[in-house]
């Protein structure tokens, strides 16, 4: 577990052992929003640029709502910014998949399809859950995830079943990201595998033979990429604490 760090940059205690599903899901959405935002002004077409920006905004909104909910529930006076901007890499509990670099468009669409299928299953479940606030956030997020999935899986199918070049790039992306799907689909293995299997088949893409899986995101053990992402995301708040505009 995460025990090494005992205090934050300004001597504030780090709640190093804190971990709750609401926080996991907030972190997933926060990190993926940041990744997708990297596409803004870089996509090949304006429509793609807008689509990825919009999807990023939805993820950011889910993250903000959940962080606020976690903060209000614990009642320690923390805000969404304390969670997003003032926690270290080891305190983030997002899935390894969402922190993976964008790569080319095929890799971003494979990552998104894997995640959207999981999110659709998760939010549909939580929309029926006991916690009223989470259920409300989930009911909204479930519809958004289904809409995102139409976009991401639609592109994955077009790329996989497209030209030789796009097919190869999509297959490379599946091969590279498959190792992060074990912890992603935990709890929804059957449904997730069935949905992804059908999409990959339609896209004429193969599930990799190598069963190797990397896990650890929920415990704060990340790949090398998260630290860099957080450094860029958090530097302004850390350089100018309390900055507002």
């Amino acid at each position: 577990m995460i025990e090494s760090a005992t205090s934050g940059p300004q001597g504030t205690p780090l709640h190093t052992r804190e971990s709750s599903p609401a926080l996991w899901f907030a972190d997933d959405n926060m990190v993926l929003a940041q990744r997708l935002a990297e596409w803004i002004s870089n996509a090949a077409e304006l429509e793609i640029d807008i689509a990825l920006g919009n999807i990023a905004l939805d993820h950011l909104g889910v993250a903000r709502s959940l962080y606020t909910h976690v903060a209000e529930t614990e009642g320690l006076g923390r805000t969404e910014d304390d969670f997003a901007m003032r926690r270290t890499e080891r305190e983030y509990t997002n899935l390894l998949l969402v922190e993976q670099p964008n790569g080319d468009f095929a890799r971003t669409m494979v990552r998104q399809t894997f995640f959207d299928v999981y999110q659709s299953l998760l939010w549909s479940d939580l929309a029926e859950a006991g916690d009223e606030v989470v259920a409300g956030i989930a009911a909204k997020a479930a519809k958004e995830a289904a809409y995102h999935l139409e976009f991401s899986s639609g592109w994955l199918i077009r790329l996989g079943d497209g030209t030789e070049e796009s097919h190869q790039r999509a297959q490379d992306a599946v091969d590279a990201l498959w190792r992060f799907t074990g912890e992603l689909s935990a709890g929804y293995e059957e449904e997730w595998s069935a949905a992804i299997g059908a999409t990959l088949a339609e896209a004429t893409l193969k599930i990799p033979d190598d069963p190797y899986q990397r896990t650890g995101g929920r415990l704060g053990y990340h790949t090398e990429y998260l630290g860099h992402l957080l450094a860029e995301m958090q530097w302004m708040d850390r350089a100018y604490p309390g900055l507002r505009w």
């Binding site: 905004l57 409300g136 909204k140 958004e144 976009f151």
Partner: protein, 155 residues
Amino acid sequence: MVIPTTLTLDKVRSTVASVVDPEIPVLTIDDLGILRSVKVEDGRVRVTITPTYSGCPAMGQIEDDIVDALESAGVEEAEVVVTHSPAWTTDWMSEEGRRKLAEFGIAPPTGESEVVCPQCHADSPRMVARFGSTACKALMVCSSCGEPFDWFKQF
């Protein structure tokens, strides 16, 4: 006294209800269905709203606009609370809101197969982009008159 005695609850409510969506200014927050309640407790006005989309960037602006509108009406202390439950749906949009949207040139929320062109009322438009000029809209083009238009997605 933070609320002038001349101000009735009806007046407070209509002041809040007339605040417009900064991204679709033909619609008020009441038309959109995001205004859930207006209450006066111990001389303070408490307004509850629900976001349309998780990532709606207009929410912060709407909160500020509500407080400003109430201030202009003489209310000194107002609080805006955002609630996520139950989740907003396009079903909450008023008939009046749908009419205003269509007049403005935005197809109101309906099932994707029922979208009609707000200009020539032809059906079966083609979707150009699933994500349009704001989070709540998709971009369509009319297959009859050829005019591109926004469709307020049904959620």
